[in-house]
Symmetry: D3
Subunit: 254 residues, 6 copies
């Protein structure tokens, strides 16, 4: 039995609120259990210097936590004068994941800035950020479709993330909350597309190692949970869901 | 007529939601028109090095904006590696203002950390932060009273802030929104106690100057608006309102 | 009686030495009692990026203290790798104050850099800096008039600053020295134009609050002192004094 | 056929030179094809502040490249004033991996510092760093055994890393060199123990995604390669190889 | 003929004003031609961590220029967030030079902080700083003698510095001003004791090299100039001059 | 007798390995006793902003130590976020020294980046860096000659460096190792050209001073050692040695 009475293969309740904040082109508030993240997407009409003149776009992400998103107060990264290694890892992961389902050739020389700001943390902030950021990004592209800046939806597939792990008693579980995460022997984050392909697998055993069999079980659990999450995303984005996949990017053609 | 149809002496609608986030000792979400700020108060059981051994406490504040709280995206201060002058001014102001109504001798060697995070900005973010932070702080002290860590409420009076200003047409107005603020010739922030004493007056004319008469009008407008705001605060903090003023600090005795 | 035998409404002796250093376009050494500040004005023939192409100029200020300007040695901000919040507040204040009396439309795409370096501090360093910086700036514009780069003096009025405050015994006093400043309950800095209009009012009560009546008394004291200071400035700048007000800036027309 | 004529499941030649530099407790020079890394292990007789008083040790890693380890010169991170996100990710990975095979309870309050400095890069620098760092660490522990500071070898198993990936033509390959890595659609780093358990799986598809079948093939390739690498490590550490596994850590007991 | 009509072996006029600023234990304003430096010495009753418990003292120096000490305005090092290589070289040189004539064993666990702030630069700022800092330091030790904190003057000899160089026409000259310095082929700074021993020789030819004969000529010129400078120092410090050499440090015994 | 049995005028064994690393245009591994430095030269086809449009080139150097190049581990400068004063002094020295023997007018608008990375330190790392960097630079220019990018060798003379010093017992010695260096009373670094002219003399006595006679002895020792080092350099660069001096730079014409 899990500390919040869930079954091993049970997600926490997920709520995705769109148009949360008025200024951004895409704005989403995602709640996964007690983990709460504001995901905003900004469209900027230029790309970073290293990409200029190639006629294609870029997607980049930033991630932060409010100091008191956690049980104890964290020092603000701006006060400390630098971004931690953990933050950098997470923002690189979010950007990479989103780029895998967007046809960058088809968005012009634009940068999509994704900002994920965790206002309350209870485990799984990076996977909730990816799931929410995907929706914010789709909404922002929706604005470009509405105003005919883009003719086709450049997003080629759905995308979401969740975590799986192994508790000290050997139980393989889905969607770890903070308490579970802090005692788990193995922690794995899975990013997957709507068609069931992997985008990213990050599995780590700091206190322990894991076998091939355990890996298989974890991957199945993740797959099951992600299918539910894609339904939540579809419900939130409404008609735009039908336009996902209008374009296909080079590297993903089979 | 103002751009949002308000009268010159009319505040924007104010909502103060308490217990917004689960971890902090005091947590408030304040909305002043379209300006929205999360104010969290953390109690730490020690004081900064320069105050140790004096038997008294300290209150300090940090302020930040989400990158997309504004019309255009701002670079995150953590990415830039330093906090701007504007941010420093604001956080110093918030801390100073709160300290003026707390009997620091009476809270033990504790630091109250105030975090004001603006998630949507439409003018008056620093004054909304002070008004909200005050409530978050009172709630946090409420926890210490409840658990008998403190015997008396160390807050000696109510405290809130608002802005007043002069439009290019010479009109003196209360509670400027972003559009008004960006064209005003004079901008003044007033922090006041529940008993009508000034804590801070910051009046600035960058594009213009102002006369003694204009100053008087502005101060009256501010006074009128602040009396309304104190009522909102009282309604939010409930029974704790009766305990404000149980102690009096040395410097404020008459 | 004050600790240096002054009356409540008495300024410390003020000396303003012009052409103190040979390189800058305008250079002033101002002494206000034991507070001593070098104020240099530099004219740069371009404006910061955000202002290019608008045909108007900019004024910006930097402020610093020698490490041993104070009783105890301060760590150099360059060694610490960052500028303190207090320094930022002061340099923003100086720049803002000077811009309020200059017709920026009339100086071309030039930046006036003001450097205020405190070599000895005894209270009131920011107000002495404004008073001295004003003179350094006028001298620098004098050079541009002399060489016919400018046809008219772009400075529209005199400008100076002083402090007022309330001692623990309730006495309202003018021009606080360090000892007075460190025990005052209320501290207020006033920046005013030669025609008696306010540019900036910054009044703060950290240990206490202040009433409307006290505010009135403080403003009168400041006004009285500033009128004396304008005379000192006039005496220093000589014939240039007659050219102040040759132009009027848009925002200050009545 | 691969660009360097290797078979899909063929490693590049590996050389591990021990005692490369005279000062460190453990020093190794590892060459994997044209990738060359100096791995040094330092033993410090204290732990970081957050671990003091727990009677256990810590292992932490730093990673850097000489500016000209690569085809084009990289700006030195010390000149830039900060460590890149990529560097941070790698050094966190190295530390985490080594900690998974060391019984930290059994090394006393000591920190093992691992420094991996890449002097020539041709793909796979992070996996070569892990493989080399493991040997440097074992040599350092060997010194502590020799001098009877430790009674038992605290390393519980062998540990090495390699990369696998999928080329644009769909070929799954082992141990990617730089040219392969830069065009691969999927890139995966695997850290494994001598007994064939996973410690870390990091699989990423930026330009493409990958299926469960592809994942299986990649994991098998990695497993095959790693078994060869363990033999190289054994050959290098000599008699110390027999002492690996003298202790077992809590989290790894089955 | 030199650009300011001096002979090859002629120093610029030197003025040393003592007790320039009121707070520091030793304060000097030194003018060497148009080069003007404020040199302050601070006595702190503790040493840096790496020296604690050894019963001896330390001397360290910081050097800075006002932004407009030079013809063009320099960016303030505090704004830039770091100290330049040139500044670091100079402050290391000043500290090292002063330590060579002080018996650190005889000053207790104290740190002497030397601050050299150039307010106007015209060549030779580092040598003027050393010459002035020496006097400020002696004055500070004088305070410790006066109050019987020290029984003997810990300064074992006089110390001063000057520059010599070779102009493009081959002329060897003493005490280069800015114009000479900027075109010189060889530039050499010499720090010497009152008894004619070298403390530091830093000779550099960026545009050219120099022979042994030229070196000899330069060293003679420097020696001649320094003897004059020692007389200026003696005149400034008055009676304290008689106490220089009361102690002898270990390393300087012959 | 010296601690490693050398005579006073005896260098440590020197080995210079060319083409050490594959990517750089010039790459050298220099060993001077136990001091080991990788020196790489990179040719970049542009100059820093302050030199653009002058038709001449630039040479700049960076220097670093691996954390465990020394007996105790040093904190990495990239982790610390800034480069130390010592590092800056050394890299400025290396750049300056190399520029003195290169006709910058004759290399086009190119920057030669020199990277000296100390992998093992035993005294004399800066002089070994200069000696090795010179060879790496000549090899890099060799590439430009080979490909006819340059017609003439822009290097006008040989260049090397060594140290000399005075031990506590008064002995003047050549080429100090770490143990000698750490106890020496006087330490002097000499950079010299193949024709016996000085480029740089940096002599320092922190614990003591030195006389004119001692200076002469030290300079002779250095001269003797450097002549041997030039032979090593010649042997390494082979045929390129004959092309040194094909051009003469303005400032070095006699």
């Amino acid at each position: 039995m899990r500390n919040d009475q869930r079954n091993k293969n049970e997600l926490r309740p997920i709520t995705i609120t769109s148009n949360f904040i008025k200024h951004p082109e895409g704005s989403v508030f995602i709640e996964v259990g007690d983990t709460k993240v504001i995901c905003n997407a900004t469209i900027e009409d230029r790309v970073p210097p290293f990409m200029r003149g190639q006629g294609k776009g870029w997607i980049t992400a930033e991630y932060a936590m409010l100091p008191r998103a956690t049980q104890d107060r964290n020092i603000r990264e701006s006060s400390r004068g630098k971004v931690s290694g953990r933050t950098m890892e997470i923002q690189r992961l979010i950007g990479r994941a989103l780029r895998s389902v967007v046809d960058l050739e088809n968005i012009g020389e634009r940068t999509i800035w994704i900002d994920c700001d965790v206002i309350q943390a209870d485990g799984g902030t990076r996977t909730a950020s990816i799931t929410g950021a995907y929706v914010a990004m789709v909404l922002a592209f929706g604005k470009l479709l509405e105003t005919n800046v883009l003719k086709k939806m450049p997003v080629i597939d759905f995308l979401a993330a969740t975590s799986v792990g192994i508790l000290p008693n050997g139980a393989e579980i889905l969607d770890l909350n903070y308490e579970e995460d802090s005692k788990a022997h193995v922690d794995m984050n899975i990013v997957m597309t709507g068609s069931g392909e992997f985008v990213e697998i990050q599995g780590t055993g700091e206190e322990a190692t894991f076998s091939m069999e355990q890996l298989q079980t974890l991957l199945s659990l993740a797959n099951e949970g992600l299918m539910e999450i894609f339904e939540k995303q579809k419900a939130t984005i409404g008609d735009l869901a039908n336009r996902i996949g209008e374009t296909v990017k080079e590297g993903n053609k089979k």
